[in-house]
């Protein structure tokens, strides 16, 4: 492979940092330049990530675009990156949303613009790195690196309670991560040859089940906080409500998936027996998340908080699918990760549009927006339908697969869980259509009384790719599903039928 | 040359301990900063006395370290340190006095949480 090919992944991961450095070196001028550079670099990142998709050869059993450079051999970690199908999808989701996030905040962010752009770009790098890392230390570094830019985004450019929300977000997530770090250290010290490398650990044979339990819990708590799984979800509504629109988009669009990705890549395959034992619990928590999250949505008066709780509900589906441990359910779960990123990201984007115009998120201040701003109404409807999983939009296929896969799961006796989860289909329609009606239907009221400007060209450019993705994935999800087929099968195999426990333990 | 009379050293050690205790008490209990410094001097001099006592009445006869001059050498070190510390301490007290017009130790409590 040529130099570019073999280092493509690294290039994509670190390109945003390059942009951040450039912005940092620029003289302090008006915001336009910095935003322009940020947009340019995020767009470039997306463009050079396209070859990752086209060049991806599914089914080889190894990681695509793998690159390994020695970093600290004595300590056992290296710079090892690579993608499998699941990581590829989330990777592309991140690069896809990157430029859109920058575009969405063009008008809204007016102070400390260079810091803002730097934070966005660093965040993008951190997320891409988390997805691509194949070494536990590298993974952990990127994982932690995600926290600071997000903390800044919420804390500096957020709304009234931003400090509280930012600190809550940081501490909550950090506590989980520290537990995970302990588990990583334990793995390293007991992995036979002292290595942090993911592939090595995967092939090293399993830890004995009782220790597995604790290690799994340590990892699982860290990821569960991120997803978020009920009852560790309370940081999310605050973070989303107080964050600026772009922060919410990137948070809902990508960062939450890091948690579910962590389950698929690390927590469950590394500790399969523990994962199998805990799977029913995770599934139940997923269902609780679906129902509880939906009910919470119905009680909200703040638009962003409502959508935040809807994220809890949607990711409940994902967790349910992952815990069901059938190929259909897990494929559906992975697809839902992508779908949720797109549709909930779009929801936050549009709420951001409304907020920029009316400066309120309170539902009671809205009414009749469809009459004065029909384009917003129409596009919001499409996104709403995507969120409730109407066939033809992207949300349906993922939800359907998760539910049917859970129903069919013998590993966890999923039929009652699937039935309970399917009520989420009803509840989703209830709260989303209720919100839609309160905001858009009826006579123009309060905020909309004197007219609301309809979508601008920039906003159309931001929305159009998302709408296209919603429809495209809705009609043709198969390319995405084929890409993840192999990692999903491997995942199901590994967790439902774990390889033997490490010899050293058995001999003892 | 029968200098090895441990119980003779006892007297000096007891004196040194008493002086040390007096000095420590003064450091902890006195309110005037200058008196605190004096108490510190007293403690140091007590230490000097103890060093000299052991220099004069060593515990081990015929030590491989040669002459019993380490005790005396230590005393010199301590005197020098005491002098330096007294100078610096008095300078600090004068500086604090300039801003607070008081040398009452109880009032110097800004190092709290």
């Amino acid at each position: 492979m040529s130099f570019v090919e073999s280092h493509l992944l690294t290039l994509v991961i670190f390109l945003p940092v390059l942009g951040a450095v450039l912005i940092a070196l620029l003289p302090r001028s008006e915001g336009g330049q910095q935003k322009g550079i940020a947009f340019l670099f995020s767009l470039l990142t997306f463009l050079i990530s396209i070859p990752l998709w086209t060049g991806f050869r599914a089914g080889s059993g190894r990681y695509a675009f793998e690159q390994r450079t020695e970093w600290a051999p004595a300590l056992g970690f290296s710079y090892h990156v690579g993608l499998d199908g699941v990581a590829l999808l989330l990777f592309l989701l991140t690069t896809f949303l990157g430029p859109l996030v920058v575009l969405s905040s063009w008008k809204y962010i007016q102070e400390r613009v260079s810091l803002y752009c730097i934070a966005l770009l660093l965040l993008e790098t951190a997320m891409l790195g988390t997805l691509g890392a194949l070494d536990l230390v590298l993974f952990y570094v990127f994982w932690e690196a995600m926290l600071i830019p997000m903390y800044l985004l919420i804390g500096i450019w957020g709304s009234e309670r931003r400090i509280y929300a930012a600190v809550k977000f940081f501490l909550f997530t950090f506590v989980g991560s520290v537990l995970m770090l302990l588990a990583i250290f334990w793995l390293w010290s007991n992995a036979g040859r002292k290595s942090f490398d993911y592939v090595d650990l995967l092939n090293a044979g399993l830890v004995d089940p009782s220790t597995q339990n604790w290690l799994f819990l340590a990892f699982a708590v860290a990821f569960a906080i991120k997803v978020p799984v009920w009852p560790l979800h309370t940081w999310l509504p605050d973070a989303h409500t107080e964050a600026p629109a772009a922060g919410s988009i990137i948070l809902a669009g990508v960062m939450l998936k890091m948690g579910t990705f962590g389950f698929v890549r690390y927590a469950m395959p590394l500790f399969p027996q523990a994962a199998l034992a805990w799977a029913p619990t995770i599934a139940v928590l997923g269902v609780i998340g679906i129902i509880y999250g939906s009910l919470m949505c119905m009680a909200q008066t703040d638009m962003k908080r409502l959508i935040a709780y809807s994220s809890v509900a949607h990711l409940g589906f994902v967790m349910l699918g992952l815990a069901a441990l059938t190929p259909e359910a897990v494929s559906g779960a992975v697809l839902q990760m992508v779908n949720h990123g797109i549709s909930t990201g779009a929801l936050f984007l549009m709420v951001g549009f409304l907020y920029e115009r009316t400066h309120t998120r309170d539902l009671s201040a809205y009414g009749g927006v469809a009459k004065v701003a029909p384009a917003i109404a129409a596009t919001f409807l499409v996104v709403t339908l995507s969120s409730i999983g109407l066939p033809g939009t992207n949300g349906f296929v993922g939800e359907f697969l998760v539910l049917i896969g859970t129903f069919a799961s013998r590993t966890i006796g999923g039929a009652p869980l699937a039935v309970a989860g399917a009520t989420g289909v009803i509840l989703g329609a209830v709260y989303m259509l209720w919100m839609y009606q309160r905001v858009f239907f009826g006579p123009p009221h309060k905020a909309a009384e004197h007219g609301i400007p309809d979508l601008t060209v920039r906003e159309w450019f931001t929305l159009a790719p998302i709408l296209l993705a919603i429809v495209a994935i809705g009609f043709a999800p198969q390319p995405l599903l084929s890409v993840v087929k192999e990692p999903v099968d491997a995942f199901v195999q590994r967790v439902s039928r774990p390889p033997p426990v490490r010899k050293a333990e058995v001999e003892r | 040359m029968d200098f090895f009379h441990a119980h003779q050293a006892q007297h000096y050690l007891v004196l040194g301990a008493l002086l040390f205790a007096l000095g420590a008490a003064g450091v902890v209990l006195r309110r005037n900063a200058i008196i605190v410094l004096m108490s510190i001097e007293l403690m140091l001099n007590a230490v000097n006395l103890t060093f000299l006592a052991f220099a004069r009445f060593p515990l081990v006869a015929n030590s491989p370290m040669g002459s019993f001059l380490s005790g005396h050498a230590a005393v010199f070190f301590v005197i020098a340190t005491a002098a330096a510390e007294a100078a610096v301490g008095l300078a600090i007290i004068i500086a604090v006095f300039r801003s607070r017009t008081s040398v009452n130790v109880d009032e110097f409590d800004t190092l709290k949480l």
Binding site: C297, M298, P327, E328, G368, V397, G405, V419, A429 | K112
Partner: protein, 651 residues
């Protein structure tokens, strides 16, 4: 037979919808109409060509358009099957749909949102066709939800009115509850049979338990979509939408999806005779329940809405007793005369500039002759008077119910001995009473609207509708008459060319036979006789009460049956019941959970509580650091002493 053009049938209206929706606002009106109408017409023509191609050699056309998604052992294709049943319905949907499009050109002409309307209408046709032609349950579900979406969009078409928007939302959510059942049914079938393909399901041996569960769950979906008890409550509210929408969606096509589904999966249902009994019972109860309510409604559209619910009940009786052909025949004939009735009502409303209340109508026969005649024809058809189509379809259903053997081996309890052979006759009796009521309330509607003298305000000048609206009325009325050909019992036309036109003959082999065996041979004469009598009784009682006396008829009834009539006029308080038992508690639960669990328990106790605890502890510890250097020195000295003690004395 595999073909490659079948996908055009649903695709053409979809393209029409896309064009109308995306650029319709800026197209000249005529062009928009052309696109919308042409797409449906073309779809009809493709369907017609396919229909004519069905014959001895070709039982069905099939096309696998593309593999939609597959994962694990599940493979879902977007594929279409055009056989006798789905083919006939395709023609009905596209044909009646086309007529309604034409009608809408007149009806919606002055509405500023006309381009949206046609986009949604086209989208609806596309979705309905997907539902009908889908060759697997998931493809059918796509259409199922798609028509639900279009229903939402069209009912709430005039969305600046809060009530209308809520009606649309209610429709969607109640439908979704049904969809939940549908999904579970799909899941059961997939896990137990390993397939979602309708053809495979219809040819598999399905164990009783599996069949019953799946059939029941799917039927829950049908109660939602086809407005049966307990999920019918959205349909009357759906009258908030434009009348052509009510005609198309809530009379002729969408609501029949449930019946179609049961008929399509006839093999599944005959494998679950208990569920068939449930279906028939639900149909019966719904039929009588809504017929009763319809007698006391004053809004012309509401009368027709409840009438639709009732007629759907009849259709479910038909398929529930195993007479799938009868149920589906009624589906088709009902599409004709109900669409005619609704469009007629629309013409009346249009001609009265928005008036919908029967109490302010009357004497319209003088002002709207075309509307009146077509409405009359359709009314005769629905009340089941020979020789119009409704007679053969509705009364065939009741006759089949009377003579059915589908329940002959069912028992009330698993171990009991009482066989349910009496169920059929009971259904027949109740159904006949419902038929009487149908005749009664339909004639009441006709008389109050068209007979007597005009009771409305002076300012309103009733007038006939333009030809673009009356032409479809005539066509539909004609179809209501011609539909009799479909309904003729084969025994009557045995040997003649007409035999091939009868629906019963046409669909032979399409449906499965119920387990008890086909109904015994019976002469249709008796059944038809009773049916005629029932229909005539309804007409007669309505005539006496309303023809000359107009509204006095209502007053006489109220005098005799005051509270009953009031309850019926208030729809038997079902909405209020649902609100109190389900809707309000759910919202209260949501708010309560939020306050108690999220805010107080999780956030209050743990998330904010733990830091508060830590803060308290550190506040205590802080007291050690008070800035007193002497104190620090003393503590240090004590510490050193302790250490010395430990290391020197205790070592």
């Amino acid at each position: 037979m595999e073909v490659s053009w079948l996908h055009l049938v649903p695709l053409l209206p979809l393209i029409g919808a896309a064009v109308c929706g995306l650029v319709g606002k800026w197209l000249p009106k005529g062009w928009l109409y052309a696109v919308a109408l042409a797409s449906v017409l073309l779809s009809f023509l493709v369907g017609l060509r396919a229909f004519l191609g069905l014959g001895e050699g070709v039982q069905l056309f099939h096309q696998l358009a593309f593999n939609w998604f597959s994962a694990g052992s599940l493979r879902v294709d977007m594929a279409f099957t055009f056989d006798r049943l789905s083919g006939a319905l395709t023609l009905v949907v596209t044909g009646v749909g086309f007529l309604i499009h034409v009608y809408s050109v007149g009806y919606m002409d002055e509405d500023p949102g006309y381009w949206r309307y046609f986009a949604y209408l086209n989208l609806f046709i596309a979705a309905m066709l997907t539902l009908i032609l889908g060759d697997n349950l998931v493809a059918m579900f796509v259409g199922w939800e798609g028509v639900g979406l279009c229903s939402y969009l069209l009912i709430g078409f005039w969305f600046t009115d809060e009530e209308k928007a809520s009606a649309g939302r209610k429709a969607f959510i109640v439908n979704r509850i049904g969809d939940f059942g549908f999904l579970i049914g799909i899941f059961v079938l997939f896990t137990q049979l390993g397939t979602v393909s309708i053809a495979q399901i219809n040819s598999a041996v399905i164990p009783l338990g599996v069949a019953s569960l799946a059939a029941l769950c799917l039927f829950i979906g049908a109660t939602g979509k086809s407005a049966q008890i307990p999920l019918y409550v959205w349909l009357p509210d759906a009258m908030a939408g434009p009348t052509p929408v009510s005609a198309l969606i809530h009379a002729a096509t969408m609501v029949t999806a449930g019946v179609y589904m049961v008929a399509r999966l006839s093999h599944l249902y005959v494998s679950a005779p208990g569920v068939m009994a449930v279906v028939a019972l639900v149909g019966t109860i719904t039929a009588i329940w809504s017929a009763l309510i319809a007698t006391s409604q004053n809004d012309i559209k509401k009368v027709l809405a409840y009438s639709t619910v009732s007629q759907l009940g009849f259709m479910f009786i038909g398929v529930g007793v195993g007479a799938f052909f009868a149920g589906t025949l009624h589906l088709i004939t009902h599409a004709f005369f109900k669409a005619c009735l609704f469009l007629g009502a629309g013409a009346v409303i249009h001609g009265l500039h928005g008036e919908q209340d029967l109490q302010r109508m009357g004497g319209l026969r003088k002002y709207m002759p075309s509307t009146r005649t077509t409405f009359l024809i359709a009314t005769i058809a629905i009340t089941g008077i020979f020789p119009l189509s409704g007679f053969f379809s509705k009364d065939e259903i009741l006759a089949q119910a009377l003579h059915t053997r589908a329940f002959s081996f069912l028992t009330l309890t698993p171990t009991g001995s009482m066989r349910l052979t009496w169920l059929g006759p009971v259904i027949y009796a109740v159904g006949s009473f419902a038929a009487f009521l149908t005749s009664f309330y339909m004639w009441r509607c006709y008389f109050l609207a068209f007979s007597g003298e005009y009771r409305g305000p002076e300012s309103v000048h009733p007038h006939e509708s333009p030809p673009v609206m009356t032409a479809p009325l005539w066509i539909l009325a004609g179809l209501s008459v011609l539909g009799l050909l479909l309904g003729l019992p084969p025994s009557w036309v045995h040997g003649t060319a007409l035999e091939h036109w009868t629906w019963e003959h046409f669909t032979e082999g399409v449906f499965a036979r119920p387990r008890g065996g086909a109904p015994g041979e019976f002469s249709p004469a008796v059944g038809f006789g009773i049916a005629l009598l029932v229909g005539w009784l309804g007409w007669a009682s309505s005539y006496t009460l309303y023809f000359k006396r107009g509204l006095l008829g209502d007053e006489m009834l109220s005098a005799r049956l005051g509270p009953v009539r009031r309850a019926l006029a208030n729809k038997l308080y079902v909405d209020e019941f649902y609100g109190r038992v389900f809707v309000r508690p759910l919202w209260a639960l949501a708010r309560g959970l939020w306050r108690v669990v999220d805010a107080t328990l999780i956030d209050g106790l743990f998330v904010n509580g733990i830091p508060a605890l830590i803060a308290w502890v550190s506040a205590m510890a802080r007291r050690f650091q008070n800035g007193d250097v002497q104190r620090y020195a003393a503590v240090t000295a004590l510490g050193v002493a302790a250490l010395l003690y430990v290391f020197l004395v205790r070592s």
